[in-house]
């Protein structure tokens, strides 16, 4: 369906600053400018599937809200499907689909099927096309058993399938998904992923998704952009990303007491902060399980986690 060569999204030095006021003394208030998005430039072509990653507060959601016309940019230029999102918000809304994983756009107290029927009227979609789409989404996402259940009684996984359907019934050319797999169990997560891959392949729908789950990106996207402190710090292919950052992992371990750097086979301590130590290891020669076993032999630990790839990129970039 990607009939035109017009880019899906073009952002050029996009900026968003928020004015945050806070008290300084009894009446005086300081006004501080926070740059949530600080000169972001990128281009997404029709039919692409792009992962947009970054830690909380990096500017992901702000970018998405500007792309979709919810927020007005403070600077730079932006075109979504060739439209200025703020000026042509309702026109754009007709052509994009948006899912916010933590918000619902369904009618809470009504059966799921009613939401879809209402959206048919809101988007003024062709009746036949609507039935066709709905039928195929119900089948692909296995929703027939809960179509008549009020939305408030759906499980998170069921609701998310409903949200995806709601965002896609009007055949949008671009779909923006903000953490579509957050909180989902593995079965639902896989169902959602498979559905998105299918959508992109069969319909040529352009997909931009934010996630904390690197697994999502590996399974779905050919390209990923990483944003931190309001700037894009990486934009490229997923495979290339993995080969740059992918062979080393870091284990963060909190010991019960501060101790000298641990000596574990195949690892190197990169940093010690009191009881917290970071051990770097090479995935191609050692497994995380071996490293953890080694640590447990050496010292009493209170907490342990493996830092993900993305975190390491932030550290490298910032």
């Amino acid at each position: 369906m990607a009939s035109t060569d017009q880019p899906a999204i073009v952002a050029d030095h996009l900026e968003k600053t928020f004015a945050v006021r806070h008290r300084a003394g009894r009446l005086r208030r300081h006004r501080i400018e926070v740059r949530a998005v600080d000169g972001v430039s990128f281009r997404v072509d029709p039919g692409e599937m792009v992962g947009y990653l970054g830690p909380n507060g990096a500017g992901k959601s702000t970018t998405i809200k500007m792309l979709t016309g919810i927020l007005t940019p403070s600077g730079g230029s932006l075109a979504t499907l060739g439209l200025d999102p703020t000026r042509h918000r309702t026109e754009l809304a007709q052509r994009i689909g948006v899912v916010f994983g933590q918000r619902t756009q369904l009618w809470w107290d009504l059966p799921l099927a009613d939401s879809f029927e209402l959206l048919h009227h809101v988007y003024r979609t062709d009746r036949r096309r609507h039935e066709e789409n709905l039928g195929s989404f119900v089948e692909l996402l296995d929703m027939s058993s809960f179509m008549l259940t009020p939305v408030r009684q759906l499980s998170l996984g069921q609701r998310m399938r409903g949200e995806l359907t709601a965002a896609l019934l009007h055949d949008p050319a671009l779909v923006v998904l903000d953490e579509p797999t957050i909180g989902l169990d593995i079965v639902s997560k896989l169902a959602v992923r498979e559905f998105l891959v299918n959508l992109n392949r069969e319909r040529g729908t352009t997909v931009l998704l934010t996630t904390h789950d690197l697994d999502d990106v590996e399974h779905l996207c050919q390209r990923m952009m990483i944003i931190d402190h309001g700037r894009v710090i990486h934009d490229g292919g997923v495979a290339e990303f993995k080969s740059t950052y992918g062979t080393h992992r870091t284990v963060v371990v909190d010991l019960v007491d501060a101790a000298p750097p641990l000596d574990v086979l195949g690892t190197m301590v990169t940093r010690v902060d009191g009881p917290r130590q970071r051990l770097r290891f090479d995935r191609s020669t050692t497994t995380a399980a071996q490293v953890i076993a080694g640590i447990v032999e050496e010292a009493a630990i209170s907490d342990l986690s493996i830092e993900d790839l993305v975190r390491q990129v932030y550290d490298a970039g910032g």
Partner: protein
């Protein structure tokens, strides 16, 4: 035209969905409907009691004041029913749910009142209609065609003016979260104040609630002409025909302010 019609269809479906949702909680629905009806009827009772003590208010007799009450309360009630839900924008902004409206291909100013439609608010308009009809028949009006036409015109224009005031005051929430009470003091306060003839108030109240917020055009200005009641402010009779123009101007202002508000919308972090 086709666009307006399909928008109305969408509006009707959204309202229908809200009524079905509310029906899930019917006890609270019925309780609220009753309480609104009673509260509005009590307002009227206050006027009746007052008229026992003070037979005329600013030179207006009971049935004249009752006409004013009926016109104001009906316009207020209809505005409350069809437009006042815009004030839920404050809550939606705080919860971050306003974004959902911005993502749909329909003006927010249509979506919000439709999606938050509360049928129970019809309770305000019922005593208002009864009062208006009874008072009009008792007020010894010299009925001519233009006076007859003046009544529905006033109600429609008045409803639109009230609606516009609601939109403007609700827009404050885009800049200052938690301003709902301030907004309500103008809408509810204005609605209550205009149940009495404007000339009983001091000059600054008249200026603010009558002319700056053009609520004098909701009922008082046309009522002076309709009733040929004492007119100490010297309202010219041609002014009685201007409420539709004021309504149009109010809509233009409301739309501008609302749009400016949306541009200033800051959303919330996810």
């Amino acid at each position: 035209m086709g666009d307006v019609r399909s928008m109305l269809t969408t509006y009707r479906h959204l309202v229908g969905a809200k009524i079905r949702s509310d029906w899930q909680y019917r006890t609270s629905f019925v309780r609220y409907l009753l309480s609104q009806t009673v509260v509005t009827a009590l307002d009227l009772a206050v006027i009746l009691v007052l008229s026992e003590v003070v037979p005329s208010l600013g030179g207006w007799n009971l049935s004249q004041v009752a006409v004013l009450y009926g016109l104001t309360t009906l316009s207020f009630g209809l505005g409350d029913l069809f437009v006042s839900q815009v004030e839920t924008v404050a809550t939606h902004i705080q919860l971050g749910t306003f974004d959902r409206f911005l993502l749909r291909p329909l003006p927010t100013i249509v979506q919000l009142p439709a999606s938050e439609f509360a049928l129970r608010r019809v309770g305000r308009s019922i005593p208002a209609i009864i009062t208006l009809v009874v008072a009009l028949s008792m007020a010894e009006i010299d009925w001519t065609v233009d006076r007859l036409a003046l009544v529905p015109m006033t109600v429609v224009a008045g409803t639109i003016i009230f609606g516009a005031v609601w939109v403007v005051t609700a827009s404050i929430s885009f800049w200052a979260v938690g301003a709902r009470e301030v907004a309500n003091s103008f809408t509810y306060g204005g609605g209550f104040a205009h149940q009495h003839p404007l000339h009983v108030y001091s000059r600054w109240v008249r200026t603010l609630l009558g002319w700056i917020l053009p609520m004098a055009f909701i009922a008082y200005v046309p009522a002076v002409h309709l009733l040929e009641a004492p007119n100490p402010l010297g309202i010219p009779s041609w002014l009685a025909l201007t409420p539709p123009l004021v309504a149009i101007a109010a809509v233009v202002v409301a739309r501008t302010v609302w749009r400016a508000g949306i541009r200033n919308h800051q959303s919330t972090g996810t």
